[in-house]
Amino acid sequence: MATRILVVDDEPRYLRLLEANLLTEKFEVFTAVDGEKALESFAANPVDLVLLDVMLPRMDGFAVCQRIRQFSNVPIIMLTAKGEEQDRVRGLDVGADDYLVKPFSVMELLARVRAVLRRAQVTETEQDRFLHMVICESILPVLKSG
């Protein structure tokens, strides 16, 4: 199954830019133009990564990130027009995995998308192994004693 990415930005030209470039990488892309629509889309379509703009109408990117974190560990990359340290810190603190300051190079964006997805995969594999171990450890004594 293709990797699915939700892109959230209120500027249609950013949506077009991100979508066009992500499609070349064979990702499946969902888009949303404000914070509320982002949450609706996220609830309806499970995705593997969220690209989230900070300055959004209705509900800003920080709030959206916080809400998503209440029920999901999906990787989130924040896109911010502000390069100020406090915004970057705040983004990471509310649960973003990475951030990118606008204006950005598409090459860098794609590299970060790949990196974050790779890390997510590693974590998933580690979780699987841990789960496997836990299951094995709980089953083994039963087998031995039996």
Binding site: D10, Y14, A20, T24, A81, K102, P103, S105, V106
Partner: protein, 394 residues
């Protein structure tokens, strides 16, 4: 002190609390004159290190009323009071004259204010002389006057502080807005350029053209923003010269409407432009004003038709841009033409808060006026009044 005097003193103290210091002083001296006769009075103040006292308040009550504006009769004694800080009296040199105003009896009392010194001077033309028992009343009046003036100074300081705070806030907002505004087109240019530069993918020719068109438009947008900022800086410092030439407003507006219509398909523009003899104006700058009003209508009243009408009067032309958009909340109207001001809540609309400021400055440079009428839910009308000959307007 008898009861009546005490009562009078109490009443004398009450006007000081009025909001308007001049009204306070008027009330004070009207009351005072019932017990203390004078023809004229003036209050002189010296600010900081300056030497010439300035008349800040004058009142003519009796004889010599027509000389109200001219308070030179008290200047000398005022200087004396200010330098010595003491109550000073002077009697006329000529004791006999047919002209009473040539025989001023003067009484000067010091007025002490923070960072200012001053004098309250009473004049009685032709006497009688000021009596010692009248001094406490005159001193009380001087103290009250000083209080009223001090209150006014404090009030002015407060207003100035509020203005400064307001300006600082606008400046801060502007820096945040402008950095966002400049970043947006740059972000597109950078993003679409690096997309085209990607070596790991190829774009079909339609997509390439689409991306290049966006880059082109966004560079234009960036240029407009920079021009606006420069214009606003020049207009603020008064460094923009106008090039007045004969301009036919009806044809200028018609041409501009056509161009705007070309850019925005489906936009309804209704023109009500009777033929009008040319006026003296700067075509380039006026076009900028009209462009801005078109942009605003398109941006803030999307989908609404725009009506432009021109009224021809003997010495003036009146142009109105009317839309049927959501209107502007009335609390923002007083600030609409201020530099950097933006109506809050227009989050997704781009803008710098400079457009209407620039419009106002250009219209003022034509010795004209710009105003707005708006009703929430009904629409907005901008009215520009331009003189036929800007050089003939005071």
């Amino acid at each position: 002190m008898d009861g009546e005097t005490l009562d009078f003193f109490t009443r004398l103290s009450s006007p000081i609390v009025k909001d308007d210091w001049k009204k306070s002083l008027n009330a004070l001296f009207v009351l005072l004159r019932r017990k203390f006769v004078f023809d004229n009075l003036a209050i002189y103040l010296v600010e900081g290190t300056e030497n010439t006292p300035e008349v800040v308040y004058a009142r003519a009550a009796g004889r010599g009323r027509n000389k109200e504006a001219e308070a030179s009769w008290g200047e000398e004694i005022a200087n004396q009071v200010i330098s010595t800080g003491k109550v000073t009296e002077s009697a006329p040199i000529k004791k006999r004259s047919t002209d009473r105003t040539a025989m001023p009896y003067l009484l000067g009392l010091p007025i002490i204010l923070p960072e200012r010194r001053g004098a309250l001077v009473f004049v009685r033309f032709g006497g009688p002389k000021f009596k010692p028992e009248q001094m406490p009343l005159a001193t009380l009046a001087a103290t009250h006057a000083a209080n009223a003036l001090e209150q006014n100074i404090l009030r002015e300081n407060l207003t100035q502080l509020e203005h400064a705070r307001h300006r600082a806030q606008l400046q801060d907002d502007f820096i945040a807005t402008i950095s966002h505004e400049l970043h947006t087109p740059l972000g597109f240019i950078k993003g679409y350029t690096t997309s085209l530069l990607r070596s790991d993918t190829t774009w079909d020719s339609d997509t390439q053209r689409e991306f290049l068109a966006i880059i082109d438009e966004e560079s234009d947008h960036l240029l407009t923003l920079i021009d606006h900022m420069l214009d606003s800086a020049r207009l603020q410092s008064g460094n923009m010269s106008m090039d007045f030439q004969p301009v036919r407003l009806d044809s200028l507006l018609r041409d501009m409407a056509q161009r705007v219509h070309g850019r925005h398909e489906g936009l309804k523009i209704i023109l009500n432009l009777p033929p009008a003899p040319p006026i003296q104006a700067d075509t380039v700058r006026l076009s900028q004003v009209f462009d801005n009003l078109f942009d605003n209508a398109i941006k803030y009243a999307p989908g609404s038709k725009i009506t432009i009408s021109l009224q021809v009067k003997e010495y003036w032309r009146i142009i109105t841009f009317t839309d049927l958009g959501p209107g502007i909340p009335p609390e923002h109207i007083p600030f609409l033409f201020e530099r950097f001001y933006r109506v809050p809540g227009q989050f997704s609309k781009s803008g710098t808060g400079l457009g209407l400021f620039i419009c106002k400055q250009i219209v003022h440079a034509h010795h004209g006026r710009i105003s707005v009428k708006t009703a929430p839910g009904k629409g907005t009308a901008f009215k520009i009044e331009l003189p036929v000959r800007p050089d003939k307007v005071e």
